[in-house]
Symmetry: C2
Subunit: 321 residues, 2 copies
């Protein structure tokens, strides 16, 4: 069994080879540039770990892992266009560097190449894999659309927000694990539990992400603290605060959201603390983490095989950066 | 054997069923809207005809035809964003009606659904089909990038322009035919000839399109005459005129391109005529059409089976609208 760290290093090495033709350079340089910016490569490693939970890692799992990482990068390139984001991982976004039209095409072609990798795997399970991959791809697009829809609303229910996060973030984690499991020969029951493990872990991960953006140590987290607050982003924290704040707090919060006061971040954080949003978020995270663990427990393999997954799950939701 | 008209009507009926989930409506309404605008459905019918050239039309050919038409519409939605085009088929483009971000996602999700249709076909040829489809999808993106690159250049060689047209337009026609042929059980040699038939027909088609934009009867063609000229679009005609014009004609042509004179279309057309661009274009079209016919001849099936393809080929390049 390999640890996340080992698989991550092995994947990074394999993934560093060229994935695109050389010509036309005006198109493919954009893809090479973006992939060169790196990333944590969590999803492809989840695919490899999903495989190894049941059997030795098969060559096909590397192909699917590559497809998953290309798909993830395709979504980032297109999301950055939609968000008009100038920076990604501290570097210029593709549309900033190469223009929106090339960024659009670079994303399109990356999605196509993802399917090319899927098409390399054994015919014996190519259909369920492409099926799950495509369903997930649609869900991720749906999640992004809901995220944009929510930006235009003044209030969003916790239930709707969780549904959006599930689609935008969790299902890809869950599907990556399950595609690995399919290659590893897992049965339907085990596949479903692994999927639910990934889905709930993904939500816990997002709660942690929202938490760190508000309460994390900026030096460790690597982002400006309160970035979400500055942008009025709907987060687990804001949604809960708006639901639980008293009348006067709610008025102050709404005023802060509608005006860009200099001390906005500080004052919103005060309201968050007054509403015990931080403790609530920790509890919510734990709740989803427990659900994830329950499903991991239910998977019918030796518990020693689950160790690497358990470790990475704990790391992902306990991280302070 | 069915005629193009019969297959086109049958495909239109099948294609009119829903291809997308209902929710989120903010995303999928955009797809439904765009598909509802119609189109000539040439590519999916080519797929069906490619199948019928060798054998009775198999259910799988309808799935691939649907995938091809969805792919084509995905490229149109994204191209319209890149071109900032307000209208498509006389109606608002998706990004005009629903915003650029939704149009981007609507296109993305349409490409994914195209692959879902491909994933329904028999395992016995799913790999060569997805392989050809994906290679073609990449080429179409490359063609669009080259088209954008050429817009920024003052001159483009005929050779480079033909290469771009091949990628942007011809290969999808060619691949649609070949995918049908694969389903029909055609061997490699026949597949290759059918592909070349489609590729050369596609170029002849584009020459005709460029010709009609300049010299066609606007009432029949359904577009404003000289639209390409007004936009300084690189076309077969302009590229040839720039290559063959005398010094003074070339100067006048360049001046006309750099200024939006009121009589620009009329004066450019005069230069086109003085350079015999119209006769040259007809000859070039015939040259590619003859190449296409040569490859159709070479396909080893009874010539009576080729009749519907021959008819649609003649129709496509002789049309005056």
């Amino acid at each position: 069994m390999f640890s996340f760290k080992e698989l991550s290093a092995a994947f990074a090495q394999r993934f560093s080879k060229p994935h695109f033709p050389k010509q036309p350079e005006s198109l493919y340089a954009a893809n090479d540039y973006f992939l060169g910016l790196g990333g944590k490569r969590i999803r492809p490693v989840m695919c490899l770990m999903g495989n190894e939970l049941f059997d030795e890692i098969h060559e096909d799992a590397w192909q699917v892992a590559t497809a998953v990482e290309l798909f993830h990068n395709f979504t980032l390139i297109h999301d950055d266009i939609m968000d008009a984001a100038p920076l990604r991982r501290g570097f210029e976004t593709v549309h900033y560097k190469y223009g929106s039209s090339t960024a659009l095409l670079a994303g399109d072609v990356m999605l196509v190449v993802a399917y090319e990798y899927l098409n390399k795997i054994s015919s014996s399970y190519i259909k369920p894999i492409i099926n799950l991959f495509s369903r997930t791809a649609k869900e991720v697009c749906e999640g992004q659309q809901l995220d944009m829809d929510f930006e235009k609303l003044t209030t969003v229910s916790l239930e709707d927000y969780i549904k959006m996060i599930e689609l935008k973030t969790s299902v890809l984690l869950a599907a990556s694990l399950q595609m690995g499991a399919i290659i590893g020969g897992a049965g339907e029951g085990n596949c479903n539990h692994l999927y639910e493990f990934g889905k709930n872990l993904g939500i816990a991960f997002q709660v942690q992400d929202d938490y760190l953006d508000a309460f994390g140590d900026p030096e460790k987290f690597g982002k400006t603290a309160g970035g979400d607050i500055k942008q009025n982003k709907k987060t687990f924290l804001l949604i809960h605060a708006l639901q639980t704040a008293t009348g006067s707090q709610q008025k102050e919060l709404t005023d802060l959201l509608n005006n860009d006061a200099e001390d906005k971040v500080q004052r919103v954080l005060e309201i968050f603390r007054d509403c015990n949003v931080d403790a609530w978020a920790k509890q919510l995270k734990q709740q989803y983490f427990d659900k994830a663990l329950f499903h991991l427990e239910e998977i019918a393999v030796l518990s020693s095989r689950k160790k690497p997954l358990l470790e990475i799950a704990e790391f992902l939701i306990q991280r302070d950066y």
